[in-house]
């Protein structure tokens, strides 16, 4: 029975993180980086990995320290834990991939104030065991990543005619007038709005059917 309970709990974590209460299109958190890094697929992938690393490990750490953290300085401790992991990511990127570090600019550092990380630590990790907190962080990061990758693929393809820097057959040819607007800021807003619209509509239709 206990095993079954554990299993359904994990299933719930997975479906909540990726779909039911997806951080991007359902809760609308962490929008800054969503819009800023999705002009290139490669940047987006690095950002997603950085976020997954920070989110899952800081959720686990917050959970591990939940009994020894005084309530009134909780937020500050959480922020420092998150900042600790962000510094690791930042130093690693600077050392091994300085070019990527430059093109992501301040957005790696801004993971500290990314509402998803803080939100998961506050809402879940500081009252749950370590393993679950880690999984919750990881699957929320996956939910974040899949929405970001959808946006990034369309923005890079329509805007530059490439994917991951490789020329794509039709889109880089002369028949496709490149939609430069897609890699500029307005394109980010429109693309996120459209993705939110589609995914929310799918979600709502499904919920209606279940009733």
């Amino acid at each position: 029975m206990a095993v079954a309970g554990e299993k359904s709990e994990i299933n719930k974590i997975i479906s909540d993180g990726i779909w039911q209460s997806n951080p991007i299109f359902k809760q609308v958190l962490g929008i800054c980086s969503t819009l800023a890094v999705t002009n290139l697929v490669l940047n987006t992938m690095v950002m997603c990995i950085a976020l997954a690393f920070t989110l899952s490990l800081s959720a686990a750490t917050v959970s591990a320290m939940r009994r020894s953290t005084p309530r009134n300085v909780r937020m500050m401790v959480e922020t420092l834990i998150i900042a600790f992991y962000v510094i690791i990511v930042d130093v690693l990127l600077k050392a091994y991939w300085p070019q990527m570090s430059n093109s992501l600019g301040p957005y790696v550092g801004l993971i500290i104030t990314n509402c998803i990380v803080m939100g998961r630590c506050e809402a879940y990790a500081n009252s749950q065991p370590i393993g679950r907190a880690f999984l919750d962080g990881l699957f929320n990061a996956l939910g974040y990543s899949f929405v970001l990758l959808i946006i990034a693929v369309f923005r890079e393809l329509f805007g530059m005619g490439t994917l991951l820097g490789y020329q794509m057959p039709y889109f880089s040819g002369p028949h496709w007038g490149k939609w430069i607007i897609m890699v500029m800021p307005p394109g980010a807003f429109f693309m996120l709005a459209i993705v939110t619209w589609i995914l929310r509509s799918i979600q709502m239709t499904r919920e209606d059917k279940q009733k």
Partner: protein
């Protein structure tokens, strides 16, 4: 560089932070409160002024701590933690001062101050200031301009959203969806300012 040309550069940076490189519509910083708290013009006005105030002063404080503490010690990577502590401490301090000295202002801005600690525009502006290697005077201009730009964007958004309250919007697009589309249109409009300022 002499003081005069620095002040001139500071003004250019300030104007470009308001219009051509708006911190919200070009760099997407401070999106969460922009989407969450832009339902009423009054609320967004209060939030906007709190952001201008905190952003300008934390930028200056962070410039001083970065250039006089972190750089001499060679601890640049430590800036994230130092900046976030400076911001949190400053916000706490302002809250205490306002509470004691001006209850009216505290009532107006007080509720927004805790929110601001986690506003990415504040940390983002400090990080940009380091990346772009601004001098102190230019940093003041940058902080002020970024704050004003943020205020401008959120007020415009709140005004539009108040008009939208009675419109019929597709169900999946309600809330964040339509707000993002409006933000996109605003970003398009702000692109029109490109080229107005040649300096930076």
């Amino acid at each position: 560089m002499n003081a005069e040309s620095q002040i001139a550069q500071a003004m250019i940076v300030c104007l470009s932070a308001v219009f051509t490189n708006n911190i919200l519509l070009t760099y997407f910083l401070g999106m969460c409160p922009f989407l969450g708290c832009s339902r009423e013009v009054k609320t967004s006005l209060g939030l906007g002024f709190a952001v201008i105030f905190v952003l300008t002063f934390t930028c200056m404080l962070n410039w001083v701590t970065y250039h006089y503490i972190l750089l001499p010690l060679g601890l640049e990577f430590f800036r994230f933690i130092l900046f976030i502590i400076t911001i949190a401490a400053f916000v706490q301090f302002v809250e205490m001062v306002l509470d004691r000295t001006s209850p009216l202002l505290y009532q107006k801005l007080g509720i927004f101050l805790p929110l601001i600690t986690v506003n990415c525009a504040i940390l983002g502006a400090s990080l940009f200031m380091v990346i772009r290697d601004y001098s102190f005077i230019v940093t003041i201009g940058y902080g002020l301009g970024s704050g004003i730009g943020w205020l401008l964007a959120i007020i415009a958004m709140a005004g539009i959203r108040q008009k939208l309250a009675n419109e019929r919007i597709p169900r999946g697009l309600q809330g964040p969806g339509i707000t993002l589309i409006i933000a996109g249109l605003m970003a398009l409009a702000f692109i029109g300012f490109t080229g107005v300022l040649q300096g930076k």
